[in-house]
């Protein structure tokens, strides 16, 4: 059975080599954005953690910051470790590339760059993979709005649910600045007869 590798043990390994590079927050290992490559290298090479297989590399747009998630798997010891790295700068998010450590990271990093816009320094061939080069914006970002009238991507509530308790965690959604293609307050865009404005 693949066991979850203990995050604190991994943190000791990383900190022993590069002090202050890793910290554990509610059971998940977070790495310093600048130290990611070195830390993952030590995790891969150390005999005890032996995380030789990069299973998954993806990113999540937590609206205040980007979160790049790595799932590292040890084949011989059969344990899996989830490592995260926060990128706070939303204008030009950048992170050191893992292509030096794992050859498998080439395509997955290009995908994250293509859909999130996170630049990976040191990646030999960082180009958009799915979309054409002139594509405006990065689709998987929460503020890449497709449907007019939406504050951000995502389903606010079940269709049958009423409006007010649509969002369980009030206050967790920061109000972001007005976006040009938001509907103007005068309501020139009439959504439906009931006139129920969602913004």
């Amino acid at each position: 059975m693949t066991s979850q590798y203990d995050a604190t043990a991994a943190m000791e390994i990383v900190n022993a080599d590069a002090p202050g590079a890793a910290c554990v927050e509610d059971g998940v290992l977070y790495l310093e954005p600048s130290e990611v490559a070195g830390a993952v290298q030590t995790l891969r090479d150390s005999e005890e953690s032996d995380l030789v297989f990069l299973s998954n590399l993806t990113a999540v747009d937590r609206e205040l910051h980007f979160e790049v998630v790595y799932h590292l798997q040890s084949l011989d010891r059969n344990h899996l470790l989830q490592v995260k790295a926060r990128v706070t700068d939303r204008e030009d998010p950048a992170l050191p590339s893992l292509t030096g450590v794992y050859h498998g990271a080439h395509l997955q990093e290009r995908e994250v760059y293509d859909l999130f816009g996170i630049r990976f320094e040191g990646h030999p061939d960082l180009r958009r993979m799915f979309l054409w080069d002139g594509f405006p914006g990065y689709p998987l970002r929460k503020d890449f709005l497709q449907m007019p009238g939406q504050v951000r991507a995502g389903l606010p509530g079940f269709p049958h649910e009423s409006e007010e308790n649509a969002w369980p965690v009030p206050g967790s959604v920061p109000q972001r600045p007005q976006h040009p293609n938001d509907p103007q307050p005068e309501g020139d865009l009439v959504v439906s007869e009931e006139g129920e404005e969602s913004s």
């Binding site: 030789v52 297989f53 040890s74 084949l75 011989d76 010891r77 059969n78």
Partner: protein
């Protein structure tokens, strides 16, 4: 009273009559004589020529249509499906439907194509396809042109197809077509050598270059050449199938690699011509294989009763089935493997058999052996030589990766990464699946 062509007269008076369809030559001879006595003789020769070509086109036309149907049905049967059965009774009209479809399709030409050289190949490829039929002997006196350099004529005409394929590939201004053309040219040039050498053994042994002469020699000696020179037969079969671009040597129109090879840019009836000529060539090549190695229109005396051209068509059908069979089952060889096989295997083998033919021929003549005894002995020797050559080649020429067997082991309990891999690899007991290797 036997007819000069060796036909036994069945009903006494039928011999030589125009309706004796066993030897179609009677018909032609009577018509030309009838014209000759009232009209100018040059008209008679022209009519004879026209009759000959009409006979050939009469044979090619329907057999081509039926062959397309037969090939698709047989390959379908290999692949556990029915093959064409919608158009006409049991799908017989499918080839007609294909032809009509191709005629109606629009004939595109790439904009940057070299117009003159782009439009010539479909016509020019038809010329050698039909010319070759002229030399094929359907019966003792039934061949349009019984040249005494028949074998050389056959090689010369099949040599010109190389040029036409090159023109097609070069002028369609398309990378795949260029690849296809280069491959086709390189391959048919190198496969002409084993073809020439294979036929050389026959010419040397039968002493004549005219194809009818070869068949008559086999009739005289009551032996068919495939028994005497099996390796030449195999070499000629493979070289001819390579010349025709058929699997396992269809690299010049390899669908999976270079889309459709030299006729990628051709559409409509132009592609139809390429396709029809390819099938026509397959038919004529299997007819020649039957003539050279299986005794052509002669079958141990049967040809005096049954019309000779029926025997030839039956043998051609058998060889044609063999060609379909290889096309249906064998995967394709790579370009360099094909070239290697030609120069490293076929050419030395056929050279060996040319020498063997010379030696046996001179022994036969100088010693004056009685052929009824000498030929079977030679046949046995030659068959042994063939098997020896094939086994020797199979052992010598295996490339490195093929020497080691491919093994599949079951991981059992050891699931993991590199360490588990080493443990699985180091296991000593017999692997579950072992394939290849010597």
């Amino acid at each position: 009273m036997t007819d000069p062509a060796g036909l036994v007269s069945v009903l006494g008076s039928t011999l030589g009559a125009w309706y004796d369809f066993r030897d179609l030559n009677n018909l032609q001879r009577l018509i030309t004589e009838w014209i000759a006595d009232w009209g100018p003789d040059w008209l008679a020769s022209i009519i004879a020529g026209v009759l000959g070509t009409l006979g050939i086109l009469g044979v090619i036309g329907p057999t081509l249509l039926i062959l397309i149907w037969v090939e698709r049905k047989v390959i379908a049967r290999f692949q556990q499906r029915y093959g064409p059965n919608r158009v006409g009774p049991k799908g017989l009209l499918q080839p007609v439907a294909d032809a009509v479809k191709l005629i109606l399709k629009e004939q595109l030409a790439p904009r940057a194509a070299d117009k003159l050289i782009f439009f010539l190949p479909p016509v020019l490829i038809f010329v050698p396809g039909v010319l070759i039929w002229g030399v094929l002997p359907f019966g003792p006196r039934m061949s349009v042109a019984d040249l005494n350099v028949g074998v050389l004529f056959l090689l010369a005409v099949s040599g010109t197809t190389v040029l036409v394929i090159f023109m097609a590939g070069w002028s369609s201004n398309n990378k795949y077509a260029l690849f296809g053309a280069m491959r086709a040219v390189a391959m048919s040039i190198s496969y002409e050598v084993p073809m020439v050498l294979a036929l050389l053994t026959l010419v040397v042994f039968s002493g004549t270059m005219s194809i009818n002469g070869i068949v008559q020699w086999q009739q005289q000696e009551d032996v068919i050449f495939i028994l005497l020179f099996p390796l030449s037969a195999i070499a000629f079969f493979f070289a001819a199938s390579a010349e025709l671009n058929r699997t396992p040597a269809d690299i010049s129109e390899a669908e999976s690699e270079i889309v459709a090879g030299y006729h990628t840019e051709y559409s409509g009836m132009r592609f139809g011509l390429f396709y029809a000529v390819e099938l026509g060539n397959t038919l004529v090549v299997s007819a020649f294989i039957a003539t050279f190695f299986l005794g052509g229109w002669w079958l141990w005396g049967l040809d005096q009763w049954v019309p000779s051209w029926i025997i030839l068509l039956v043998k051609t059908g058998a060889v044609y089935f063999l060609l379909i069979w290889t096309r249906g089952t064998l995967p394709r060889l790579r370009v360099d493997q094909l070239m290697g096989f030609c120069w490293k295997a076929l050419v030395p083998a056929t050279l060996l058999f040319v020498v063997v033919a010379f030696v046996e021929r001179t022994l036969l003549i100088s010693e004056g052996w009685d052929t009824t005894v000498a030929l079977p002995v030679m046949a046995v020797i030659n068959i042994a030589l063939t098997l020896g050559a094939i086994v020797l080649f199979a052992r010598v020429s295996r490339p490195a990766p093929l020497r080691r067997p491919a093994r599949i082991r079951m991981a059992g309990a050891q699931i993991g990464g590199l360490r588990a891999a080493r443990q699985v690899a180091s296991r000593t007991e017999e692997p579950q699946l072992q394939v290849g290797g010597d």
